[in-house]
Symmetry: none
Subunit: 194 residues, 4 copies
DNA sequence: GATGAATGAGGATTCATTCAT
DNA sequence: TATGAATGAATCCTCATTCAT
């Protein structure tokens, strides 16, 4: 990665921190510059518009998605294991980088800008689709029930993930995210097994 | 309700609409005044600080909570029915007033202001507590399983509710919220029955 | 005129002064505010966009045009006298308010903004049309020659007016604009008489 | 011309184009660099200050003046022919390089900078002086009337030239500049003949 | 000689809040 | 009680200029 890319990423991280601490409203290009120890104008050399910076944040937020989709697929696990593997990877990641969960909770706020909204919608749908495919595979495989209503399962799981992250944040990271989440996920999957 | 209170509520509604259309960042006291057809200064006669206005929004968002808690309790339903009754009421309400779901998705953003954050936290905890109590009752009653992990159920349910509302918003209200949600909720409760 | 309109006009005058002293590039909303002795933000209460302010300048620049067209027409003068009357009024006005001639020289610069350009084009054409009509009347009346090429006369006259104003400005208002101009105009009209 | 001078001229041309398209306000060193396909910093190697660049533009604008003065003088024409020759050369030039007429219309705007203003004043005066000399010669020669007011003739002619160029620009180059202008010039000269 | 990153001042504009009327 | 003018800080963004490489 060249030095410009490194700087861009560093600025992106700073922005994520700011979002985490002060919310979207708390992100100003000036504050980003101050934290980065660069001049205000310099920010715009890397991100000509503030939106480009926010776009970069969303991009980073979903950076590992495709890798994870891939690695989940190639591991040749039973579908239920695959689901667990997939979700647990997020949990590990979030636990190691709590600030990023602020972006996760911002889905709706970002909708108000067309450009950002489109990007977020894309991330949302991509993740939901992948989850849906995993579950369908598990259903074909027979490890998850295939009753009529079970189409809701992907939404249930993804909502839970987002929901437990919100709880984690509200409670000041006061419990073990991964452990808590994976117990619940296992429980859900068990409940929907045959 | 006196005329001042009516006006305050009317301003609050306008604010909710603005949040719905433009996000928190899109709420300005000027725009609120314009939409209300009052002068800019007048807003401050009802809400001396902008935060007071936002506080009022959160308050309105949770206005019916206690009534609903109450009416859920007194109806003397079986616990599982009570859970469904409780959740369905929200769904009916949201379906009749979609803009309010924007506030629902803002939980995390509002945390960045101490005052607002406290209020939101309170709403979040109160609702979660009530859901927990409903479920515990159902477990005692024997209509819901009481395996070790089942403490997660309240979070699963509340997360799903918030999650399906997000999906509803992202998809432009393109499906029937209540119907979709209640099917899923029933499914979850069934899965966790004995 | 209400107090808001008075203030708007006052700000417009200040802007004209600024244009006169520093050119278009020298007009900043901040400087306008400073000169007016008001806060920076206050400027935007009267002119929400800087362009509105510039629009107001052009409007003021051409404010008396229609009155002058009218008063020129109703005076029932011989056409040649009418032409002189018409032009002399501008000269009197410019001599009493030299700064406004800066706007006169800005025609081309203003073309680069669509909105301003349209307005300027309109002023330009309206004035040229009126001059054309005056000359055609004089030709019908027989006081001005009607040889083939004489269609150029309106452009010659209007160009001279703008040209002598430029000279006046370049030479630091070092000659009597009205006297100089009217001698030349008379000379031109004589030269094109029968 | 050495390679540095070639580059300087090329940058100057680009600047003239920019002035033509966007006005003085639209000229930024960054945009010049972009159009030239060089780095931003490189511009300053050729023109240490932006003003130097604008100076160069004015210089180019008047580059052929002295040659034209010279060639007009040595051709040994009758004075009236000389005037026509002189003016027609400008028209030919402008018609072949319309963008340069943007600079012509900028006389007044450039006055606001001392350095640029001096240079422009110089160009203005030099041209006016030469025109004055041509006319005086024609008067001595007897081909142009020498009545009292005729001192205005140089201003009339130079104003017309600038004025018809403005019209040409305003009307989107929608007529033949040279033909239109020369007809008018001939007409003027005829009108002021004996 | 050329690059491109960095700077800092200044640009327009928005905003919550105050206050005289 | 309601108005709307005024404020001043904060917003994003652009620009000429410098300088190490």
């Amino acid at each position: 990665m060249d030095s410009a890319s490194i700087k861009k990423q560093s600025i992106t991280f700073t922005t994520i921190d700011l979002i985490n601490e002060f919310g979207i409203q708390g992100v100003s290009t000036r504050e980003v510059a101050k934290r980065q120890g660069i001049s205000h104008g310099a920010v715009f050399q890397y991100f000509p518009k503030k939106n480009d910076l926010l776009l970069s944040v969303i991009e980073y937020f979903s950076l590992f998605d495709h890798d994870l989709f891939h690695s989940t697929r190639i591991r040749n696990m039973k579908s239920k294991e695959a689901i667990i593997y997939y979700i647990e990877n997020y949990m590990i990641y979030y636990e190691s980088y709590p600030a990023i969960t602020a972006v996760y909770q911002m889905y709706d706020v970002l909708q108000n800008d067309t450009e950002l909204g489109d990007k977020v919608k894309n991330v949302y749908n991509t993740r939901l689709d992948f989850m849906t495919k995993l579950i369908e595979a598990a259903q074909k495989e027979g490890s998850i029930r295939n009753t009529e209503g079970c189409t809701a399962l992907p939404v249930i799981l993804t909502s839970y993930i987002r929901g437990i992250c919100l709880k984690w944040r509200i409670e000041g990271y006061g419990f073990q995210l991964r452990k808590t989440a994976m117990q619940a996920i296992n429980m859900i999957l068990d409940a929907f097994s045959l």
